[in-house]
């Protein structure tokens, strides 16, 4: 199988785009209220701010500002596995408004509150058919530019 034939499929449909060009950033699937203008992620049918039911689908991101983050050391909880490494979790304010919580892609020292981050896709596993199952992450924007 050639690389071009490998399909990328979302871990769950309806939350983010998967561009055909692997160098292109994904975007988040959100909603914007046509009555009050508030934007939301993920998609919803009724505006959480003004309760109008006139929401339009929009694509959000890929850039945002890191509002806060932490580095989690999971082996302290639940069944212990030797390969369970520490990982980052952050909350990112997208330019369109919504604050999105997601896992961070990168090393601890690459992150600081207030920095610019960007969406990227991470491959979690391959299906039996050879498709790549992907999920969205936030990475330092500079790093994402280097990769692109």
């Amino acid at each position: 199988m050639t690389e071009a034939e490998i399909r990328r499929i979302p871990i769950q449909p309806g939350f983010f785009t998967i561009p055909d060009d692997p160098d292109e950033s994904p975007r988040l699937l959100g909603s914007q209220c046509s009555a009050c203008g508030e934007s939301f992620f993920p998609r919803r049918e009724i505006c959480a701010a003004c309760l109008a039911d006139s929401l339009e689908p929009v694509e959000l991101g890929p850039r945002g500002t890191l509002y806060t983050f932490t580095w989690v050391h999971p082996p302290l909880f639940g069944p212990l596995r030797a390969d369970a490494g520490a990982y980052g979790v952050g909350q990112v304010d997208l330019a369109e408004g919504p604050r999105v919580q997601a896992v961070l892609s990168g090393e601890r020292d690459e992150f600081s509150i207030g920095m610019e981050v960007a969406l990227e896709l991470e491959t979690l596993r391959k299906t039996d058919e050879g498709d790549e199952v992907v999920i969205f992450r936030f990475a330092p924007a500079a790093l994402e530019e280097r990769r692109a």
């Binding site: 993920p42 959480a48 932490t70 580095w71 989690v72 050391h73 639940g78 069944p79 999105v100 919580q101």
Partner: protein
């Protein structure tokens, strides 16, 4: 709304800890029987019961209540994550205040040891799911990191709060964590990192347990327990989130900190009680940094002043406003369903002057606060006559 004519008739609880050998039913039976005994009644006098637990077992509450007898009383299940116990208590208090019940029971139980065992481990619970249902520790660590960024708060502040609660817990025979020496902030900071900047000793343990509070009309309390201080419920407010920009819909465990301020304001207004009247407070310190936030959000100091309370030791036993006198979630423990009822247990003992080495001098008014995933918040004010 102010609650009138509802008072605590009796409380009971198990010691919170890892209970490998005992079932949920056994734990609930111990706590419920202790509360009935303390109340001086049997189930025939209980008009209605609210049963709180997080375990995914339908009907468990009704089965537990059968342990106390089969009297036909209505039994309603309540689940609001960490706030479950206080949510059940609120229903019992209002059932009595409304006149619908003369005596009502709130009982909570859970075995976190069994629920935690369900985690998938690997790269971290929920790490690779669309809603990144991260560990609650990580969520409150997000608060802590932001606070440190905005206010210059140090991990030492969180460590001092945790050490205080560990040392309070050592005075409470029902607490899980029973340190055999005085815990220092340095020791807390040196324990393993869970989610930066929170270390293991700043985080509540995994607990099993049960707790029960029986509420009755104050006249019933006076008749059953003549000469004993009457612990009245003055307000019990329960809220879910109000939308504000920055709301995180996916993955967040507990919503914005302002939910506590909104709920507390309503509880104070309803009771006609201010933070200055409160003698002791129990709050959701599942993670020590939360307690620091709640000093401000519950109105015990101005915004940005919480660190000063920690530095002055104001929230330790003997201080201006002791917090988590029974050890809090960090040391007394946090089994889920019963946690809020353990708070009612402690406040009742304190307001009756029966808290032994933990006694807050002349305690008249106590506050119980919990947040719960989803998310929700509850603030309850109790006051003796």
């Amino acid at each position: 709304m102010k609650i009138e004519n509802a008072a605590v008739l009796g409380v009971g609880m198990t010691r919170f800890r890892f209970e490998r050998q005992r079932s949920t039913l056994e734990l609930a039976r111990e706590a419920g029987r202790a509360a009935l005994r303390a109340a001086g009644i049997d189930l025939s006098e209980v008009d209605e019961a609210w049963v709180g637990y997080m375990a995914p077992e339908p009907m468990l509450g009704v089965r537990v209540m059968k342990e106390f007898g089969l009297t036909g009383l209505p039994v309603t299940h309540v689940e609001n994550a960490s706030a479950t116990g206080l949510a059940a208590f609120r229903e019992a208090a209002w059932a009595v205040a409304s006149g619908r019940c003369r005596v009502a029971m709130a009982i909570g139980f859970d075995k976190m040891s069994e629920m935690a065992a369900g985690g998938r481990g690997g790269r971290g619970i929920g790490r690779d799911s669309i809603d990144s249902v991260i560990l609650p520790a990580a969520y409150f660590a997000l608060w802590a990191m932001r606070r440190m960024h905005e206010r210059g708060t140090k991990p030492e502040h969180f460590a001092r709060i945790a050490a205080k609660n560990w040392n309070h817990g050592a005075l409470n025979p029902l607490a899980d964590r029973q340190a055999d020496h005085e815990i220092t902030p340095e020791e807390v900071l040196a324990s393993p990192m869970v989610a930066e900047p929170l270390t293991a000793m700043m985080v509540c343990p995994i607990d099993d347990g049960a707790a029960c509070a029986i509420v009755a009309h104050p006249n019933v309390v006076r008749a059953k327990q003549p000469g004993r201080p009457v612990v009245n419920v003055r307000s019990s407010v329960f809220r879910s989130e109000t939308y504000a920009p920055g709301h995180t819909f996916l993955g967040a465990v507990v919503g914005p900190a302002t939910m506590t301020a909104d709920t507390a304001k309503l509880a104070y207004e309803a009771a006609g009680i201010g933070p200055g009247d409160v003698d002791l407070a129990l709050c959701h310190d599942a993670f020590a940094n939360e307690e620091l936030e709640y000093y401000e959000l519950l109105g015990f100091c101005a915004e940005g002043e919480a660190e000063k309370l920690v530095e002055a030791g104001d929230t330790a036993l003997g201080g201006r406003i002791p917090f988590n006198t029974d050890g809090g979630l960090v040391a007394r423990g946090h089994p889920g369903g019963p946690t809020g009822l353990a708070m009612i247990h402690e406040i009742t003992q304190q307001l009756r002057g029966e808290a032994g080495p933990r006694q807050v001098e002349n305690a008249r008014t106590g506050l119980a606060h919990l947040v719960g995933g989803g998310s929700v918040c509850t603030v309850n004010l109790l006051q003796r006559d």
